[in-house]
Structure formats: structure tokens, C-alpha cells
Subunit: 334 residues, 2 copies
């Protein structure tokens, strides 16, 4: 079975019409959620399922499109409404195609706001909507000022407490970026590097040994810059960096084979989960291979030093182990 833990919703155009209108009017007064027909949702969903089938993915976890999360916009009530609305769309998508999708919640994060403000939506998504995971943005300021507390800061502790209690893995994934010199897609990468170093330089895993953190896009720069941080931590008398890194999980959402080979060497198959972001940035044919960049299974299949057991873990085993809320029917496991 192929489980893709990193996908985002393909929502119908009416969803973004609502976003545009709400933001334009600052959601004040809030005019209510529009009705989106099952037909409209299903039209996008058919495309999405077709894409999964074309690459042989059996089940994909989908969350709100991060670059449209608009966490830094004010008033924050707007962000709360938007997040709730998109989570509801995702719940309906999962309900319409339960063989293909599971939900990963977005949170109504707002910079400066107590992170406890996100907990009702987290609980609603887990307990009422049946989601399996949550997406957490380490930079709700979206590249603005002041920079938010690092993920190692106690600011996040009420969230971590809830995640451990609910046994929900968090996918670290930033959103848009307001700095003109940094695209959102590059901001993802930089924020992942910051998130990893902040977490591993903190007491988070001593205080929450059961916290499950999955870092998107194969960990930003860190697997490539291991030597620098190995030396940096050795000089500071800290725990071996390679050992520390194993407290985290990573997805395989990196579109080059050499980089994935490096990731498998540095991170190892126990801590890597299949993730593609399909459809997204990588949905364009790679002239070298003829198939899309985000069609990652043939890439991972072609890494010759991986064993069958390694591949099983990455494609299926690790996801089932981590995501305890994931119920997979016998029919789904071929």
C-alpha cells in the first residue's frame, strides 16, 4: 500500500471566491459561509483521484493549501473562519472519497495570539471530522516582523500538550511569505531548517517525549548541511546531532534522486515517510525522466541501496505507526 502523507486539497473555485471576498471586506461583518455543492467538490476530487491513480498512490493525506493560509492577516477572526471553512471542505472530500483521502487539519494560527486559540479547531477536526493529523506553521508572521517564537519555545507548549493527548502527528509546513526577496516555496525550506534547529536545541522532546513531528520537504537544508551542525553542536558539548535528528520524522517531498539518496543516508528509512505534495509545485514533467517531478515512487524504487523492508516502511509502515488515528480498511490494504 502506498500512503502519501503530504498532499493538499484541490478545492473548487468557489472556495477561493469566498476567500477573496472575505479578505477584501476584512470579514467585517462576516457574511457567512457559501454553500458549495457536492457536485462542485466532486469535480475537483475526480481530477485529484485520477492523479493519485496515475502514480499508484492508494491513500493521500490532504490539508489546506499552506500558501493560502493567510495566517498573518488581521483581523484574526477572518483566519479562524477561513481555516474552519477549508477544514470543512476537506472533511467533505474525505467523506466523498474515503478510499483515497484522509484529512489533515489546518489551524487558525495568528501571530501574537495565544496558541490555545487554535485548540478548539484542532479538537473539532480530530474528534468530529475524523482527521488523522495537523499542519503547523512555524511562521504565522509569514516572513514579517517580529519573528515568531521558535518551535522550541514554550509558546507552543499548550499545542504540544494537546497533540500528545490526542496522539496527533504535526506536519511542519509554513505558509505564504511577505518578503519580496523570498518566494513562499523557498520560505518553506528556510522555515523547516529553522524549525528543526529550534526543536533540537530545546527541551521539547524531554518535556514531550511522545510528540510526533514530521518535517516537510525532507527537512529544508539540514540533511545537506549536517556537517556544519554536527560540528556546531559538538563544540557546544551538545548531544550528537545525528542522534538528535532521529527525534524527528521527515517526508520524501524532495524532487531529486541524489537528494533523496542523501536523505536516506542521513535520516534513514525509519524516519522517512512517503510524501509528494501532488498536485503542487512538482506537477510538471521532468525532462530527464519524462514523468512529473512529484511522481516520487519510481524515484524511490530506483534507489538501489534500499531494501524491500526500507521501502515498506517509507511507503506504508511508518505512516501506520505514526498516525494512530488512521484506520485503513482491509480492502485498502491489497
Amino acid at each position: 500500500m502506498i500512503i502519501d502523507i503530504h498532499g493538499h486539497t484541490l478545492a473548487p473555485p468557489e472556495v477561493y471566491q469566498f476567500q477573496g471576498r472575505m479578505v477584501g471586506s476584512r470579514g467585517n461583518p462576516f457574511a457567512g459561509f457559501p454553500k458549495i455543492s457536492d457536485e462542485s467538490i466532486h469535480k475537483q476530487l475526480k481530477k485529484h483521484v485520477g492523479l493519485l491513480q496515475s502514480v499508484g498512490t492508494d491513500l493521500q493525506f490532504i490539508s489546506p493549501r499552506p500558501y493560502l493560509a493567510m495566517h498573518s492577516l488581521q483581523p484574526s477572526g477572518m483566519v479562524h473562519k477561513w481555516t474552519e471553512f477549508v477544514n470543512n471542505i476537506i472533511a467533505r472530500q474525505v467523506e466523498l472519497e474515503p478510499d483515497y483521502f484522509r484529512g489533515v487539519a489546518g489551524l487558525p494560527q495568528s501571530p501574537g495570539e495565544d496558541i490555545r486559540e487554535c485548540l478548539p479547531e484542532l479538537k473539532r477536526c480530530m474528534e468530529e471530522l475524523g482527521f488523522v493529523g495537523v499542519q503547523v506553521n512555524p511562521d504565522p508572521m509569514e516572513g514579517g516582523h517580529p519573528t515568531p517564537p521558535g518551535l522550541g519555545d514554550e509558546y507552543w507548549y499548550p499545542l504540544y500538550e494537546a497533540l500528545v493527548e490526542l496522539d496527533v502527528p504535526m506536519l511542519v509546513h509554513s505558509a505564504a511569505c511577505c518578503s519580496p526577496r523570498e518566494s513562499y516555496t523557498l520560505h518553506f525550506i528556510n522555515e523547516e531548517s529553522i524549525a528543526i534547529m529550534s526543536l533540537l536545541d530545546s527541551n521539547v522532546f524531554e518535556d514531550f517525549p511522545d510528540l510526533k513531528v514530521v518535517v516537510s520537504h525532507t527537512g529544508g537544508a539540514i540533511p545537506f548541511q549536517m556537517g556544519r551542525f554536527r560540528a556546531w553542536r559538538l563544540r557546544a558539548g551538545k548531544e550528537n546531532f545525528d542522534t538528535a535528528l532521529k527525534k524527528l520524522y521527515f517526508d520524501t517531498c524532495n524532487y531529486s534522486k541524489e537528494a533523496l539518496e542523501l536523505a536516506f543516508k542521513v535520516i534513514g528509512p525509519d524516519n522517512l515517510l512517503f510524501g509528494t505534495e501532488l498536485p503542487g509545485t512538482g506537477s510538471v514533467p521532468n525532462p530527464e525522466t519524462g514523468y512529473d517531478f512529484d511522481n516520487l515512487k519510481p524515484v524511490i524504487d530506483s534507489i538501489d541501496f534500499l531494501t524491500e523492508e526500507d521501502r515498506y516502511k517509507v511507503y506504508e509502515g511508518n505512516a501506520k505507526r505514526l498516525y494512530s488515528r488512521l484506520n485503513v480498511t482491509a480492502a485498502q490494504t491489497k
Copy 2:
């Protein structure tokens, strides 16, 4: 001959005493530069030469320690004084040990200030002090707000014009970082990724085809995240990313062998220059090898797919080709 293009000055303690006092008093009034004896300078220099000898480096380019550049401090006059002072120390170091060192200038960058304010110091270092290169900080705000214009922005054009006119390669290297969640050493990495993408998404190399840019630390995250940016640029109908990347040069200052192997595959030996940052973050024994992380020659020597010609380019040839102000005596070339 082994030329290390990425080193920083080992300055005597009196230099940092001066920095502390000047910053404490905001340099207002400015009390003048202290006299630093040749003896004091030579004491540090002897250590530094010993380190180079111990790893077999014949010649190292040294610039001001980036993490102490304090570009974001106000008043900017203080930064101008500090930069001038450190550049002078470097000039004396090169004069005392001309067989081992060449100077790379720091610039008195100040956020919001016209970049032309840096040109007198640039010219002084090149024309009076005989330096061979310059270090440019893409983030003089040092992680603060507002973020500065990306290196692709016309803000930097007067500098690029001067660099082309003087034929001086610039080493992209950020400084300190004011955000508590991001160490300066991680900020280096993130700023390099931003610098690369900003330059390659701009018209800089059309407007300045002869501009020579060397990116520190083997290019931040980019060689590892190539697939993402290949796809991103293909979708936008832009020039092939691998082709675009060849407009830039990179140093080998990355302390893991697997990562350097990836860099050689992605960047190639024509665009990589030997650089170690020795002594610096990597000056601690690697428990795996027994020698320091920043002793990179044995690492590069052990990459089995490199030819003798590749190694010649990386150790010597590319540096001589790029740094036209570098005069190497016959005695230095063994």
C-alpha cells in the same frame, strides 16, 4: 597548490576590546583607533599559519569575521569605522605573512543606506590595500525588519557596477542574526538560499554578465532542493535551473562528504572553489574521521568520481581564474 578562498581573520583580543568599547559608547564621540602592535597581530597569525600548515593549505583568503560585522547597528558611522579598522588589520596580516594570506574586504553595509556608501571602502581595499575579493552581506538587517532588497534588486547595482569595473569576485556571506530562533550559522545557510534564488530570478547576469559571485557554504539549501526549483522554474517557463545555477560559483565549505558529493554532481567542478572557513565552526574533531571537520582536503581527495583535473580546478585553477587580482609568486606554486 591549495588555495582556500574562504577564511576569516584571527584578530588579536585588543581588536574586539575596541569593538566592545566603541559599541558601548555608540562611537559617539569616536575616540580613534587603538594601536595594535605587530607582536600582538603576529601571535594570532602564528596560530593561524600553523593551522593552515597542519592541513596543507598554501594560501588562504581572509575577510572580517562575518558574525561580528554588526551591520544592523546604528549609528552606521560606527559600522564604517569598525569595517575600516578590521580591513586594516587584515592588510597588516597579509603584509606580515604574504606567503599564506590574501585579503578579502568587508564592506560597511548599513540597511537602508545607499550601497554607494560602501564604494570608497571597496576601492580603498582593492587599490590601496591590495585585497583580492570582497565579502557581501545579503542581509545587513541581520534578521531584522524590514527585510532588505534581494540581491537581484537594482538596489545593489552600483555595487555590481564597481565590482565589474574593478574585476572583484564577491563572496556572499551574511552576518549575525537578531532573531532568537535562528543562530547566525543557520542564518548564513538561509541567506545563501535566498541570495541564489533572488539572483537567478533577476536580470543581474544580463545586466552584469561579468559579475563574479561566489556563494558560501556550498549554496545553503539549494543543491539539496534542486528538484523543487527545477520544477518551480519549469512551471514558470523560465530558463533551466541547472543552466542558470552555472552563473554562480560556490565554495566547498560544507562539512560532510555525502553533501559534497551531491554538490559536485549538481554544481560541478568548474563552479566549485576550495573553501573551509578554517578556523571556525568546523574546527573540532569529527569523531568519524579523527580529524577536524574543516580539514576538507582529505574529504575531497576521497570522493572517488573526481578526476585529477577536477581536483586541480577546485583546489587552485578556479580561484586563479576568478580572482584576477591574485598574484601568486613562482615560489608559492610548487
